[in-house]
C-alpha cells in the first residue's frame, strides 16, 4: 500500500494521464446526474411554480412536506427505488435495477423535491412582486406562472445547479440501486467508497479531487451567472 503522500502523487498522475478507467467513471457520473437533474427540473419547476401561484386546499401542508423532502436521506431514496424496481416490485418488469437507468431514477427522486421546493420559494417571491401587475395586464394564473418561471430564470438556474450538486455528491441511492458494478454502474462517489475500503487510495483520491473540483465549478458558474444577470437585468 502506498504511503499517503505517494497516493496523492499517483492520484494526480491518474488525472493528468486521463486514465481510461477514471474517465469512464467520471463520464458515467456526469451522464447519470445530468439526466436526473434534467428530469427533476421537468418535474420540479412546474410543480414549484404551481404551488407558488395556486390556491388550493392543502397547499401549505404540501409546502412543508416539500421543504422537508429537501433533506431526504439518499439511502432511504435508494431503498424506496430499490423496492420499486426489484423483480417483485411494481416496476420490476422493466429490469432497470442495477443499471444506470435505475440510478437516474433514484437521483431524480432525490433532487426533484429539492428543485421543486427551491423554485416554489423563488417563484412565490417573484409572484408577490409581480402579482398585481400581471393580473392588471390580464394574465391568467397559468400564464402568470409561465411568465414568472421565465422571469426568475437566473435564480431557477441556480436552483437547478444546487440539484446537480446534490445528485453528483450523493452516494447512498446510487450505491443501492446501481450496485456499484465495475464498468457498468460505478460512479465517482461509489468508487470512492469502495476503493477507500479496499485500500486503493490513489483512485479514490483522484475521483475525490475531480468531484470537489466539479462542485466548485458548479458554484462558480452559479455565482458568475448571478453577477452577470445583476449587471444586465438589474
Amino acid at each position: 500500500m502506498d504511503t499517503i503522500p505517494a497516493s496523492f502523487g499517483t492520484a494526480i498522475a491518474l488525472i493528468g494521464a486521463l486514465d481510461a478507467k477514471l474517465l469512464q467513471i467520471v463520464l458515467l457520473s456526469l451522464q447519470v446526474s445530468l439526466s436526473a437533474v434534467l428530469f427533476a427540473s421537468v418535474i420540479g419547476l412546474p410543480l414549484g411554480a404551481a404551488i407558488a401561484v395556486g390556491r388550493f386546499p392543502g397547499r401549505q401542508a404540501l409546502t412543508v412536506v416539500l421543504n422537508g423532502l429537501m433533506g431526504l436521506p439518499s439511502v432511504v431514496v435508494g431503498l424506496l427505488v430499490y423496492l420499486l424496481l426489484s423483480r417483485a416490485g411494481p416496476l420490476g418488469e422493466f429490469g432497470l435495477l442495477f443499471t444506470p437507468g435505475a440510478m437516474v431514477v433514484a437521483q431524480t427522486v432525490l433532487t426533484a423535491p429539492l428543485i421543486a421546493a427551491l423554485s416554489r420559494q423563488i417563484v412565490e417571491d417573484a409572484w408577490r412582486e409581480l402579482r398585481e401587475q400581471l393580473r392588471s395586464l390580464g394574465a391568467s394564473t397559468p400564464r402568470a406562472a409561465a411568465t414568472l418561471l421565465w422571469d426568475a430564470r437566473i435564480s431557477l438556474f441556480t436552483a437547478i445547479l444546487a440539484g446537480f450538486g446534490r445528485a453528483a455528491a450523493e452516494v447512498g441511492a446510487v450505491m443501492i440501486v446501481g450496485g456499484n458494478i465495475d464498468g457498468v454502474t460505478r460512479v465517482m462517489t461509489t468508487t470512492i467508497a469502495l476503493e477507500t475500503s479496499k485500500g486503493d487510495l490513489p483512485l479514490a483520491l483522484a475521483l475525490g479531487f475531480i468531484l470537489v473540483g466539479l462542485i466548485l465549478a458548479v458554484n462558480a458558474v452559479a455565482y458568475t451567472t448571478r453577477q452577470w444577470a445583476a449587471r444586465h437585468y438589474g
Binding site: E129, S136, R153
Partner: protein
Amino acid sequence: MSASIFPLVVEDISFEHGGQRIIDRVSLAVDGRVRTVILGANGAGKSVLMRLIHGLLAPTGGRITWCGRAERPREQAMVFQRPVMLHTTALKNVAYGLKLAGLPRRRRIERAQAALERVGLAYLAGRPARVLSGGEQQRLALARAWALEPQVLFLDEPTASLDPGSTREVEKVIGEIVASGCKIVMTTHNLGQARRLADDVVFLHEGRIVEFTPADVFFRMPRSPEAAAFMNAELPWR
C-alpha cells in the same frame, strides 16, 4: 375603437379584510370624459377602492358595472406607485402587455415602439428595464399601460416615490394620455397634483365617500368637515 365601456357604476360596494371593513358601502357613477381624482388620508381606502374598481380585488358586497355589464372590460389599465418590470428590455416589457392582449408579434413590437416614443423613452428601448431610474421606470409603466389603448387608466399614487423633476415628466405624460382620449382615475394625497389633474374629486374618509364634487368647488369650499380638515393638514399655512 371599440364601444364605450362607460358609464362605470359602483353600487354599494364594501370590502372587508381580516374582520375590518376597509371600504364601506361606496356608490358612485362616472363617465368617460372627466378626470377623477380620489383624495384622502393614508388608510382612507383609496388604493383598495381603485383595486376593487379595476378588478384586482373582489368586493365582499355590492356590485360594479361597466356600461350596464358586470364583466370586467379589457379596455383598462393600471399604473402602480412602484413600477414593477420584468427582467428584460424596456421594449419587451411594453410588448408583454400587448402579447397578453393577443396582438401578433409584429404589431406588438410596432405598438410598443410607438408607446416608448410617446413617453420619450425610445432611446432606451433596448436597455434592461430594471436598471432604468425610478422616473424612467414609471414612464415605462405608463407606456406599457398606454400601449394597450385603454379607455380608462387607473393611477395609484403614480408620483409618490419620485423627485420633483420626474414628477413633472410623469404628469406631462399623464396629460398626453388624457389628451389622447383616455379617462384617468387617480389616487393621490398631493393636493397640488390633485388641483393640476382633477376635474372631479372623490374624497374618501375611513372607507366612505364623504364628497364627490367638481374639483374647483372642492378646492374652493369643501363641504364636509373631514375634507376641510384634510386640506388644512396638508396646507397648514392656509
